[in-house]
């Protein structure tokens, strides 16, 4: 069944560059802090905290794009390296196929706005089965937590699509934990991650934008 990616309207008032600058000034993500004095100016957060909007969907999908780029790269590099065998290799192949479809859907949704692919240095993580499993678990868990963290920030249409993806990432995580001999679902609830935490999670796995 073909995924129908959400239509994203062209945003006139907020280019990516200006969003980045606003982010660096520290508005918005700090729910508990009303204003931030920086460089001699006070920046109020109220106007930066966003209700769901198409523009905000775009911003969030850019992070999602980074996650999916990372997953595609991680699984393809690991498979290409050739250290995976048996059920672990089957897992990686299936996960790669899924992530490619996710990536295509998100890129399609972003259209010309899609950000570029980050650079990857996965190092040892793709060289041994054990390191691969650990990194796969972290990557999939980060994807789940990142998606969950943005659920309330997405428009309902994008939320519905994101929901179709996040459960597949969660299945991947449980699958590879099971292969690793770990309890496949150790927690009763999945904690969310903020966008920054998710980005940091990717960074810790060898991703740099």
């Amino acid at each position: 069944m073909r995924l129908t990616a959400p239509e994203v309207e062209h945003c006139e008032h907020a280019s990516e560059g200006s969003l980045s600058r606003r982010a660096l000034i520290g508005a918005g993500a700090l729910g508990a802090i009303a204003s931030v004095p920086l460089a001699g100016r006070v920046f109020r957060l109220g106007d930066a905290l966003g209700s769901p909007s198409k523009a905000q969907d775009v911003k969030i999908l850019q992070l999602v794009l980074q996650v999916e780029y990372t997953q595609v790269a991680f699984y393809s590099q690991a498979l290409a390296h050739g250290a995976l065998e048996g059920e672990l290799r089957d897992f990686a192949r299936t996960a790669l196929a899924h992530e490619r479809q996710h990536l295509a859907a998100v890129r399609n949704a972003l259209g010309a706005k899609a950000g570029g692919k980050p650079t990857f240095d996965f190092g040892a993580r793709i060289r041994s089965p054990k390191a691969f499993m650990r990194a796969a678990i972290d990557l999939e868990d980060t994807a789940v937590a990142g998606y969950n963290g943005q659920a309330a920030n997405l428009t309902k249409g994008t939320l519905a699509v994101a929901a179709e993806i996040v459960s597949v990432e969660a299945r991947h995580a449980a699958w590879v934990r099971a292969i690793a001999g770990e309890v496949a679902a150790p927690d009763a609830v999945d904690q969310p991650m903020s966008a920054q935490q998710a980005a940091a999670g990717l960074h810790a796995l060898g991703v740099s934008s």
């Binding site: 069944m1 995924l3 299936t94 996960a95 196929a97 899924h98 992530e99 479809q101 996710h102 859907a105 789940v144 998606y147 969950n148 659920a151 309330a152 309902k156 249409g157 939320l159 519905a160 929901a163 179709e164 993806i165 996040v166 459960s167 597949v168 990432e169 969660a170 299945r171 991947h172 995580a173 449980a174 699958w175 099971a178 309890v183 496949a184 679902a185 150790p186 927690d187 009763a188 609830v189 999945d190 904690q191 969310p192």
Partner: protein
């Protein structure tokens, strides 16, 4: 997941015919009331009570959705509890039933803590042997977990409260982990498609009804003069 796709799913996994037999038996069971049983409303997820008051400042529609999810959590928790108590499960399957059951029971508790007097009561479940043998248990667990994932997914965009949405997504992804786990134990692929589809409430209702797991509570109290030996 439509009823047709659930049927295809059952066919695909029903290697020893246990599930097909269960459904065939269910279909030939008449709805004639057995002595002391009332079958009114049995087997459906249509809730007689919709919230007309508010639990913890939630909207009536969110309370309604939460109660719908609660029935699915009751279904899962009762299923795992009964399976663990049956003593029929071994090895990794027994471990999974313990861990997943403990999680579903925690979910039920959280729902009850939030909904309080607004919570629907736990239905009576007849699991028809699926808690008493390992293969039927796994088949059923896969079906129930996949169903829970699809059900939560179907409702998430309809929630009014962001706090409830935050709770729902955190549970939804855990149910997906459960589904993958049970699938792996059963020997089928933990993640079939790149995109998991939502299920509408009516289709979930239909699927649950078709299992005939929800039954009327037997009425064990009677009236009339005892004829015991005295």
């Amino acid at each position: 997941m439509s009823t047709e796709s659930f049927d295809r799913f059952l066919t695909a996994v029903d290697r020893d015919g246990a599930l097909a037999e269960t459904r065939a038996r269910a279909e030939t069971t008449t709805r004639r009331g057995l002595l002391g049983w009332t079958l009114a409303g049995a087997g459906t997820l249509v809730l007689a009570r919709t919230a007309d008051a508010r639990a913890a400042g939630l909207s009536a529609s969110d309370v309604d959705i939460l109660n719908y999810a609660l029935v699915l959590e009751y279904l899962q928790s009762s299923f795992y509890t009964e399976a663990e108590r049956s003593g029929a499960l071994t090895g990794k399957t027994a471990t999974a039933a313990r861990v997943v059951g403990a999680t579903e029971r925690a979910h039920v508790k959280a729902f009850l803590d939030l909904l309080k007097s607004q919570a629907v009561k736990r239905p009576t479940f007849d699991f028809q042997g699926t808690t008493e043998q390992q293969r039927p248990f796994l088949k059923t667990a896969v079906a129930l977990e996949d169903l829970a994932v699809a059900a939560y997914k179907g409702q998430a965009p309809k929630l009014k409260s962001n706090a409830v949405l935050a709770a729902a997504v955190g549970i939804h992804s855990v149910e997906a982990r459960h589904a993958a786990w049970m699938r792996a134990l059963f020997g089928i692929t933990p993640a079939v498609n790149a995109f998991d589809k939502p299920a509408s409430r009516s289709s979930v209702n239909g699927i649950v009804t078709s299992t005939h797991f929800i039954v009327a509570k037997p009425k064990m109290r009677g009236r009339g003069k005892p004829s015991f030996t005295g």
